[in-house]
Symmetry: C2
């Protein structure tokens, strides 16, 4: 069994209203040294596979097809054995 | 300038309807080897600080006060210099 840890982030050129709202709220709380906040998704996927390579291929495929919107988002995958 | 990379995850005992929906959708697409999906948040915070320690303290504080709901969520922070 493998666990894929996936970070999905909005592309740099895409506006991030959630992150902007969080930054404004933090400024209002007094955190003036926080310059920018961007909010993406963190996805943990448990995969039954024979090898790390196979697990990564499945995770990459699942992200491309469903979990990330590649027009607006990038993703990185890290595989660990569990 | 430092960048804090924060992973916010739902606690193990908390149901994750978004993750469950993603798992069902992946099963319907034929990914039967995917056993479990949990979806959390990935937050990037740019912080002006004099040291890594100070940046981490600010990030931890911001997460505790605003970005994570500690009743239901856990978070991990990783600091990098940018």
């Amino acid at each position: 069994m493998y666990k894929a840890l996936v970070n999905v982030t909005l592309r740099k050129s895409i506006l991030d209203p959630k992150g902007k709202a969080a930054r404004e709220a933090l400024h209002n709380l007094g955190y003036s040294t926080i310059e920018d906040v961007r909010i993406g998704k963190f996805i943990e996927i448990n995969i039954k596979a024979d090898s790390e390579k196979e697990a990564e291929a499945i995770a990459r495929d699942a992200c491309s097809k469903l979990l990330a919107n590649q027009v607006m988002e990038d993703f990185t995958i890290q595989i660990t054995k569990v």
